[in-house]
Structure formats: structure tokens, C-alpha cells
Symmetry: C2
Subunit: 480 residues, 2 copies
């Protein structure tokens, strides 16, 4: 946990932001429901507990079945949770009281978890606004629906509370929280570097474990060991595949074969729950073929270009488009695409090869605050999200400011199903050389990803030991 | 996955059992809702997928968002799930169809996931019984409530459908499923042995990793690596603690200190989702003190007695009580308790030292079928559950039959809060020598656990390589 003052200051800042949404006496309450245990098999056999990220940000307490109310009119704060009973002490050992834990994050009032519904009912009876964030989990959906007395399908809908008094999640609260969590504090940057160190260690273990003939799962196990020994665990399910063209592949049942490209996209969540997220692509045999190296070098150059351009004042959308242009230029030199570069960029031709965005925000979530609304998180009010494949998947488009932490993750994939679709629909407007592209149907994919902090005058990569990325460096790391 | 015939035979057997609950035409449908992904952080960042165990048992398909209906009157079967779209193929690669997957488990009819609600609505409109199992997860609770049109709080209530037509979970279906899953088939025993092998490997890694001065979490990470490299993962959150008296301790943040006892209670779930569950207790310094060895030997003898007694025909409750008697006899020889053994057993004095039961059923869940109802799973119709501390927590009391797989896990703990409570309430009826007991307040606890299959004429332990358990063997394993 951070020092008490951090949480007190964050809640004070939140209160000030919410004060701008309505005059005093008309603001209502902000309701935060933390996570409970999530059953893996039966109810008492739970997955490893993961607290809600916004709860962690404002209230820090990393335990299940906590909730809180901040009164936006009189600034009072109450944490709702239950002290343990004698029966619990037998099973769990002596536990500090809820009051003593609340004091660690600067909250003076506590009440039982059960009394939360009374507090909300009272606020409702007084006609006060109930501000809450759209929940990520089914329990929180059920709990919020029950507390506020609304249908479950409304709980995740985000709209301004001012309009109808709050029969849904609060856009005012969402925006206030995003504006804070998006800009990382010094103490958070330290944690992101720490998670970066762990992620880099995990990737090093992975790289050193690649052997022809073993099952992919063996490597995944070693990576998890590394992060579980020092951190909370993986920040998302590890992608480790010899079919990099399959972007969301969480099976690890294949034997490692010679001559393939292995994409490893994985990150660590440290014990403070900050995330890292790195991708490297390795030749399973230890050496790239000429064909592999040509594509690899393009992705590597795109990764470097994005990093060099990253600084306050430019939008990440512009960087995405600059990367798309460089990628197309290099693919043109391989005769995979043909024609005018700017026209190809405008037509979104790069989306055929990189059907995802250049990057996303990172923090307590590896896709930071994704459930608060991708557009509210990743787009400035004057930006509109594209509908193009690739650019349309860009999660972070905003004009950069110091304190943003984002991923830089260009990729090139040859996805036969997608290529055939474009060909059939003439979606490429004649820019694609399909006869050349056919020879890449068994190529797979390449992605290269670092995590980047926007600084006062530029950017730096997080994590102390950047993973080798230049093709020669990768080959030499694999042979040592 | 098992061969198709296994699943076909299981569903046929289930159909026959359900046929006994009502005449043809009055039986209704059995509705099975598999698990969906469970969010860890935001919705798209899910915990590692774990399918519902009863779904796995009858339908085998290990993927999210599957459901099925078995028509108990005409014996037709339908699986409800969605084929992937082109967009999904881009992200997930080409996928076999739902129909081809259903064929793998012998189900001929498939329909979209969305059409499940139509099918249930139709059955409801026809006044048919809807049999379903009480769900473990919040999603399944919400989904079943919505499908059947009942309040969420009714979904988990188990009662005979015959009584009111089924505005709750079906006791008939619960009983039929329990009667089948309780007796392990040959193919399941192979899997339990496989999970046992992995669990034993995991425990060996743990034992070999104990070093004074390291953080407990380091060992936990290595254990997870071991199981994730070859299996699904841990079968429950690992307990690894120098405070064995704290029965449910999932924190691993302590430095390993000399002279302590370390309880490691952990198991593996293999890729077919069968569980193992073993406990060993190690002296952190590699050698037991005299005081530690005396208590350790008692627990070891209790473990052996339970195993020796395990055979068809005896109840596990009687074995629990025999173990309690031996434990009290040995504690009496240490002058920790005093008095008549049978009277002490009758008064439940053993519960002060072992406030849990001797064991539980195991299978696809490490506490097999716990959410179907502990008493329905673990007690014969003629057995009544005790309210005594310890015996009252016995999860498996039944008369043993071949095919039962159970844990044998006696333990002795010195829990100051519990001892003080008994002393204050004179709960011990004068049998406890508190002045002697005080010297054990910093002792901790010891538990020793194996998994046991009831055979035709006795029992055998599952897993190929039993972990060293005799105190000399433990010390010698730790020194090698």
C-alpha cells in the first residue's frame, strides 16, 4: 500500500472534480463497491483475489468485500466492511479491525458491509444522486443493481447523472476518475518500473527456454513461476504462439517446431497491482530466415519510430498513422503493396497487416480503465474514433501529456482468412499485390512491444532492462 | 477430452436416473449452463478459463459460453453455442464448428447460444419442469434467473421439483449427478493419478526449495510453475505457512525463519481438470525439535490409521472418530488432555486440536461437488451431520464403496484464540490441561494429507510417488 497521504490527496482531488459537476447540496454520493472473491470451481474455491482497480486507486485496501461512500456534498467518507468473528479467527488468524485498516488510507468512518444498503437507500429516499462506476464483474453488477434498485442491464450504461438522477453509471464520475488515473504519479511510475522489471525477467526466462521439441506450455509455466515468485501474477493471460497471426491465442499445447516465429506477449502484475506488457518475437531455431528478418526489421523500425515520436503535444493517433506509413513504405519495397503511400494510409491498407492499434494506456489495468469506456479513456473530446480496421482498434489516441504510460506495439501478421476476405471484397482498392502475398500465408506474425512513459520533454521506456529487440541482438541473446 | 462413448454413457445413465423421478411426459428438461470467462480486472482480461465441473462431466467441451438441454421425456439433446464469425477468426484463428465439437461428445443437435432462452421459454410455456443444478458463479446465477424467470436468490436453493414445478434448483437432478460423480470411473481414476503425480512433483519442488531467509512467495511461485508447465494449474490457492494453526492462510509474504513448522497444503489440477490435494509439514531448519516430533508423530499415526481402516463398508465418519480417539490417546500421553478416552471422543474434545474433518471427496473439484450441497454429497440418507467443532466440519461421512476418492488429512493445531475461548466457556468439561497447553501457544500446527481411492477390498493412495511422511524420511529428504 502507498502512504496514507496519497489516498487522502486522491480522494480530495476527486471531490474537487466532482464539485464542478453540480452545486453543493445537489452533488449526491459516490459509491464504490470493491471486488469479492470469484469462484473458479465451487464458491469457496476462488481464483486468486484481484481487487477492483479504481478501488485500489482511491482506497488501497486489497481485500474482498469492501465498499465505500464519499459524500460529495459534505465530504464525509465511510468504508463498509465486516470485522472478523471468533470463527474466522480460528481459520484466518487474528486480523486487524476494519477501522484500523481504514485508518491506513485516511478514512475515519467505518460501518458493516450489510449497512451499505441502508446508506444507499437513505440517499435514494432523499433524492440524492448516486454516482458509481460501470462494474467489471458480475457480482458488482448484481450488487449495484440491488443497492440502487435498477435493472442489471442499466448498471453498465454510462451517461450523465445530471440528466435523469442516476439510474445508471455516472459519466461525471467516470470522467473524473479517468482524468486522474490517466496521469501517473511518481509513486505509480516507480510501480510501473517495478512491474516492468518483473516482466522483463519473465520474458528473459521465456527466451532462454525456447527449445525445439518441447511443449509451449512448459515455457508458460516457467514464466508464471517467475512472476508469482515476486509479484501478483501475470497481468493478462500469456500469449505464446508459433501462430502469431492468431492475435488472441491462449492455448499452449503445440510442440515447438524449427523455423517458426514465436510471438510472446506477456506481462507481470506486481504485488501493488501495476502492470507491464511486453512482446517479443523469436525465431524458434535461434536464427531468422531472410524472409523472416525482412519483416522483423520493418516491425522493429516501426517500434523505434513510434518511440522517437512520443513526446508531449503530439497525438498517439498521429503516431499510429506515421507508423502505418512507414510500415507500408517498407512493405512496398518488398512488393507486397504498390502505389501512393499517403493514399494507402488514408485507405487504411495498413490494417490488413496490423489489424490492431499501436498501443493502449497502462496502469493498474494492463488496458488501463478499459471498462470505464474505451473512448472516454483513450480519446480527447475533439477526437473521433475511426471505423477502419486497425486504426479503429486504437485504444489510445489522445494528445500526449507527461505522465501518460502507453504501449508501443506495432505488428505485421499474414492472416489468410483476412487476406482472402479483402481480396473477395476488393477492399484493398488495388494496392495489394496478392500474388506476392500468397507466399506469406504460412509466415505467421510478428509483434514487438515496449511500455513507454511520456516525460516532460519526450519519453522513456519503463522497466530497467529493455529486452533485446534488434534482430542481431535477439539472435545473439538466443545463442548465449 | 475422453472418448465420445464416455459422455454418451454418462448422459444415458443420467437420463435413466431422472426417469425414476417422474413418469414419461412429466419429467421436463435438464438445463446445463456452462461457465463463461470471469473478469480479473476489466471484462476482457479474464482469469484462466475454468469450465463448470458438471458440464465437463456430461458434455466435456472445455470452452466458455456453452449450454445444453437434455429433454428428459424424449431423450433428445441439444448444445447451445455460437460459431465464430470472420472477425473472430482474425483474432482467434480458424475454429472448428460447434456442430463438430458437439459431435465429439456425441450430441447431434446444436443451436445458437441466444436461442437457449427461446427453448427454455417454450418449455416453461408448456408447463414442463426445468431441472438445473445450483450454480457456483455469479454469471450462472444471473443467467439461470433470467432464463427461468425467477429471483436470483432462488437459483441456488435446492428442493424437489416435484413439489412446485421448479422455481429453484432441482434436488432430483442434484442427487442423480452426485450419485454418478461420487463413484469414479476407470478413466477418471487415471486422471486422478495423473493429477496426483503432478501434485507430488509440485510438493517435491516445494520441499527442496525451503531455505531460511527467503520469502514464502518464492516457493509458491516455483510450485505454480511446476503445475502450469504440465497441468491447468493449482487445484486451489496454495496454503504455505509457518503458522499452520491458521487454517486458511493464503498470504505468502513472510520470511522463512529457523525452528518453525511449515505447512504446505497444495494440489494440482491437470489439463483434464482432475484434482489432487496433499499436505506435508516440514521443519524449516530441516530437523524436528523433540516437541515438534512428538506432535508430528501423532498426526502421522492418525494418517496411517485412517488409511488402514479405509475399505468398503465402513463409514468415513467412523474413521474420523477412530482417528479422534487415537489423537486424544496420544495427546493424553503428553499430558495435554486427561481422562476417559471414549468420553472425550463423545464430548468432541478432539475438535479443539483438529477443528476440521478428516477428509472430503475429490474429483473434478478438489472438494468434489461442494456447491451441490455438502450434506447431499457427503452424507448417506441415514446419516445426520454433527454440530460438534471438527466432526461437524466433516465433509465426507458416507459408508465407503469402491470408487470413492477421498482425502485423509488429520491435523493438530494449537490455536490460542480457540483455546482461550474453550477455557473461558469451560467447553472442555475438564478434559484439557490448560497449564500444559500454554507451552504450545507458539507451536503452530501440523497437517498431513494423502488422497485415497477406495478399492474392492481396501484402499490405495492415488499418485505414483507418495511424498515422504515419516519424520525420519522427511528429515532425510530435506537433507539430500
Amino acid at each position: 500500500m502507498f502512504a496514507k497521504d496519497i489516498y487522502v490527496a486522491r480522494r480530495r482531488a476527486l471531490l474537487e472534480k466532482m464539485a464542478q459537476t453540480a452545486p453543493q447540496g445537489k452533488r449526491g454520493i459516490a459509491l464504490f463497491v470493491g471486488n469479492v472473491e470469484a469462484a473458479a470451481q465451487y464458491k469457496d474455491n476462488a481464483y486468486k483475489f484481484r481487487q477492483d482497480s479504481s478501488w485500489l486507486y482511491y482506497f488501497g485496501l486489497d481485500e474482498p468485500r469492501y465498499a465505500a461512500i464519499i459524500d460529495l456534498d459534505d465530504a464525509s467518507e465511510t468504508i463498509f466492511a465486516d470485522d472478523v468473528e471468533i470463527d474466522d479467527i480460528i481459520w484466518m488468524g487474528p486480523q486487524p479491525t476494519v477501522a484500523s485498516k481504514a485508518a491506513l488510507v485516511g478514512v475515519g468512518n467505518t460501518a458493516s458491509y450489510g449497512s451499505l444498503s441502508l446508506a444507499v437507500t437513505k440517499a435514494l429516499a432523499q433524492g440524492r444522486n448516486i454516482h458509481f462506476l460501470p462494474p467489471s464483474r458480475y457480482y458488482n453488477t448484481m450488487k449495484l443493481a440491488s443497492l440502487v434498485g435498477i435493472p442489471e442491464e442499466n448498471v453498465g450504461k454510462v451517461a450523465p447523472i445530471a440528466e435523469d438522477g442516476g439510474r445508471h453509471a455516472s459519466e461525471e464520475l467516470v470522467k473524473a476518475v479517468i482524468s486522474m488515473r490517466l496521469i501517473k504519479e511518481e509513486c505509480e511510475i516507480e510501480q510501473l518500473d517495478d512491474a516492468g522489471a518483473l516482466g522483463q525477467e519473465m520474458h528473459t526466462v521465456a527466451r532462454d527456454s525456447i527449445r525445439i521439441g518441447i511443449i509451449e506450455q512448459e515455457i508458460v509455466g516457467k514464466m508464471e513461476a517467475c512472476v508469482l515468485s515476486k509479484g501478483w501474477g501475470v497481468s493478462f493471460p500469456t500469449i505464446l504462439t508459433q501462430h502469431g497471426e492468431t492475435l488472441h491465442n491462449h492455448l499452449h499445447d503445440k510442440v515447438i517446431e524449427p523455423g517458426k516465429l514465436m510471438v510472446i506477449d506477456a506481462g507481470a502484475e506486481n504485488n501493488m497491482h501495476y502492470a507491464s506488457d511486453f512482446t517479443r518475437t523469436y525465431p524458434t531455431s535461434g536464427k531468422f530466415t531472410k524472409k523472416q528478418r525482412d519483416i522483423y526489421q520493418i516491425v522493429c523500425d516501426c517500434n523505434e519510430l513510434a518511440f522517437k515520436m512520443t513526446k508531449p503535444g503530439i497525438t498517439y493517433q498521429d503516431i499510429h498513422l506515421a507508423v502505418a506509413k512507414l510500415m507500408l513504405e517498407d512493405l512496398r519495397s518488398l512488393d507486397i503493396v504498390r502505389g501512393n503511400l499517403d493514399n494507402m494510409v488514408a485507405e487504411g491498407i495498413a490494417g490488413l497487416f496490423q489489424p490492431h492499434g499501436l498501443g493502449h494506456n497502462m496502469g493498474l489495468d494492463v488496458h488501463d480503465m478499459e471498462d470505464l469506456g474505451e473512448n472516454l479513456v483513450g480519446y480527447d473530446p475533439d477526437q473521433k474514433r475511426s471505423s477502419q480496421l486497425g486504426l479503429g482498434s486504437l485504444r489510445m489516441a489522445r494528445r500526449l501529456v507527461p505522465g501518460h504510460v502507453i504501449t508501443d506495439e506495432p505488428g505485421i501478421y499474414f492472416i489468410p482468412a483476412l487476406i482472402e476476405k479483402w481480396k473477395a471484397e476488393k477492399r484493398d482498392k488495388g494496392f495489394v499485390n496478392y500474388s506476392r502475398l500468397e507466399s506469406y500465408y504460412d509466415f505467421g506474425g510478428i509483434r514487438l512491444e515496449d511500455d513507454v512513459l511520456v516525460t516532460a520533454d519526450g519519453a522513456r521506456r519503463t522497466g530497467p532492462n529493455r529486452l533485446p529487440i534488434l534482430p542481431d541482438d535477439v539472435e545473439s541473446a538466443m545463442s548465449s
